[in-house]
């Protein structure tokens, strides 16, 4: 299966914690260079992405389209910088191109796009699209007797979208236990908190009532995430939803739990302060 023209990637990280740290660093640079938004949303899911790509998903950067790969959709496409950074760190493409994010003529758009980007399974950006598509993929896999898993990462604010609730009904009805949803539950939307905008609580009970296997974890705790995402957590006949309790802006103290950093781009002293804060938390 080795392709001499495409040597196996050399990962610069050894643990998922290191991967998450590197994703955060790339993402801060990307939104700084691109003067773009959504760094708070990326930092919120950096650990989830690192665990998924570093320890859970069955993927091969040398064969990004292999038929039995696990399929992952970032439905909260505005955090696409996180996916680009993760894929680059996993060897799907060079980390060098990350600097092109948001730049004129680039293919690394602000919301994640699959065109000419190996490893990006699906393009998103408008919220509420990823889960219905993955319901179709999971249904197809069931019908075909395939054993790959179908994974969707939603934001909590995204759960306002009615299309997600159509899919929340669909998946348990069709017993799609090959479907895994992770909700990035950082409790902040783009303007205000979830509680002040459109409350979701009790989210776990709602999804359980719909027929989901619900697991609640610390969305920055790698061991908890790994255990919840493991195949051993699957309940036969039920789709699984991990409610990942997260902190928007996680890892950069002045960005944490602040709606400001949904749209604000770190420039000047703020950028320097963010990189310095990150350096202090570099995994040993």
């Amino acid at each position: 299966m080795t392709d001499p023209s495409h040597p196996a990637p050399i990962n610069r990280w050894k643990t998922t914690e290191e991967l998450a740290w590197r994703v955060r660093r790339h993402a801060i640079r990307m939104v700084h260079l691109g003067k773009s938004s959504h760094i708070g949303s990326v930092l919120s899911i950096a650990d989830i992405l690192a665990v998924l790509y570093g320890a859970v998903l069955r993927i091969d950067p040398l064969h990004p389209d292999m038929p039995d790969r696990d399929r992952f959709i970032l439905s909260k496409g505005h955090a696409g910088a996180g996916v680009y950074a993760t894929l680059a760190e996993c060897g799907f493409f060079s980390v060098e191109i990350l600097k092109n994010h948001y730049q004129n003529g680039s293919k690394l758009s602000g919301h994640v796009s699959h065109i000419n980007m190996p490893g990006v399974e699906f393009s998103t950006g408008s919220l509420g699209h990823g889960l219905p598509v993955n319901c179709g993929r999971a249904y197809a896999a069931k019908k075909a007797g395939a054993d790959h898993r179908i994974v969707t990462l939603l934001s909590d604010g995204e759960c306002d979208e009615g299309s997600n609730w159509e899919a929340f009904l669909f998946a348990p009805h069709h017993k799609l236990d090959n479907l895994l949803v992770i909700i990035d539950y950082n409790k902040l939307q783009s303007i205000k908190s979830i509680a002040d905008t459109l409350g979701l609580d009790p989210l776990d009970e709602k999804l359980k009532a719909f027929g989901w296997n619900v697991i609640e974890v610390d969305g920055h705790g790698h061991e908890q995430l790994k255990a919840a995402m493991a195949r051993s957590s699957i309940k036969k006949g039920q789709p699984t939803c991990i409610i990942a309790n997260t902190t928007k802006g996680k890892g950069i103290p002045f960005m944490e739990n602040s709606v400001l950093w949904h749209y604000r781009s770190p420039q000047g002293e703020e950028y320097a302060a963010a990189m310095a804060a990150l350096e202090e938390s570099r995994p040993q």
């Binding site: 219905p132 598509v133 319901c135 993929r137 896999a141 019908k143 159509e166 899919a167």
Partner: protein, 309 residues
């Protein structure tokens, strides 16, 4: 037309196990035979069109040939962004099928008048837009669309007495069909209203006007050559559609005429830029909007009288 679509789909699904039909809980009774023959290739997703179009995209990306069915605007406008972002951008083979084009469900009220679908779907890059004129075209279009890569939109109507099956030429997407010959004017029509165009052509013949009738079943990609032939051969064109006057067949035809630089008598006939609260059958609403055979005949006569040669 709808029965012909279902029969053709049933045959196709029996031949190709990758074919799957999705419905958003509409089509009571019409799919019974299909379900009996290919039960594993049918999925009623419930009254959830956005999810249906997402599921359709997901199935297609896993290699299935998907037909996603509903009526009126539910299969299109209700889930337009899913058609655009999910299916079309990802070049998924999703065939969106809407029954009840135009005023088919005239009495059911404005919510059920599918009168802007052709224009709106035409604007989406990469989407093939088809509205057959009769049952034969519907039956022919279906396997062609299944093979056609990317997203297609098929607008069908309940029934029409028109029958163009005597045509010996094969049906091809994007290849307009000349279903009546004539040299004095060309009536370019799309969908079930082509029946009115054919009736108008008969009335015109009684006045000594030989009208060509073209079934422009594929609005996009458009058969521009056939329009250029009409300019050259007949020197007058009347476009006819049961769709808003804005952005549909008439607009497409006028774009071709304008860009060829031709100066010929031309008129668009379509639904005015308004919503209808008036109750009425399809025939009643067509007549009310000046889209029946009599009105088409009058409009065509006027155009012919303006010809300079």
């Amino acid at each position: 037309m709808r029965d012909s679509f279902v029969a053709a789909l049933t045959e196709l699904a029996q031949q190709n196990e990758r074919v799957i039909l999705l419905t958003a809980d509409l089509g009571f009774g019409i799919f019974d035979d299909y379900v009996k023959k290919v039960p594993d290739q049918f999925l009623n997703v419930g009254v959830a069109e956005q999810n249906m179009m997402g599921v359709a995209t997901g199935l297609s990306l896993e290699g299935r040939v998907v037909f996603a069915y509903s009526i009126g605007n539910f299969a299109t406008l209700r889930c337009l962004e899913q058609i655009r972002n999910d299916a079309a951008y990802h070049k998924a083979n999703v065939n969106v099928v809407a029954s009840g084009g135009g005023f088919t469900y005239g009495q059911l009220g404005m919510s059920h008048h599918a009168t802007e679908d052709l224009s709106i779907l035409r604007a989406l890059p990469g989407v093939t837009v088809v509205a057959p004129c009769d049952a034969w075209e519907a039956g022919q279009a279906l396997p062609a669309l299944a093979k056609n890569p990317g997203v297609s939109y098929l607008r069908i109507e309940k029934q029409t007495p028109l029958d163009t099956s005597q045509d010996t030429k094969p049906f091809m997407l994007s290849k307009a069909r000349r279903i009546r010959e004539g040299q004095d004017i060309c009536l370019i029509s799309i969908g079930g209203i082509t029946l009115q165009a054919m009736r108008a052509a008969e009335q015109l013949a009684e006045k000594g006007i030989a009208a060509r009738v073209v079934s422009m079943h594929t609005l996009k990609p458009l058969d521009t050559d056939e329009i250029k032939h009409a300019i050259r051969d007949t020197g007058a064109i009347l476009s006819i559609e049961e769709n808003t006057i804005l952005g549909g067949l008439g607009s497409a035809v006028s774009e071709v005429i304008a860009e060829t630089g031709a100066s010929i008598p031309f008129k668009r006939m379509g639904i005015p830029d308004t919503y209808f609260s008036m109750v009425g059958s399809q025939e009643y609403l067509l007549e009310h909007n000046g889209l029946d055979a009599k009105a088409i005949c009058e409009a065509a006569s006027n155009l012919v009288s303006k010809k300079t040669t």
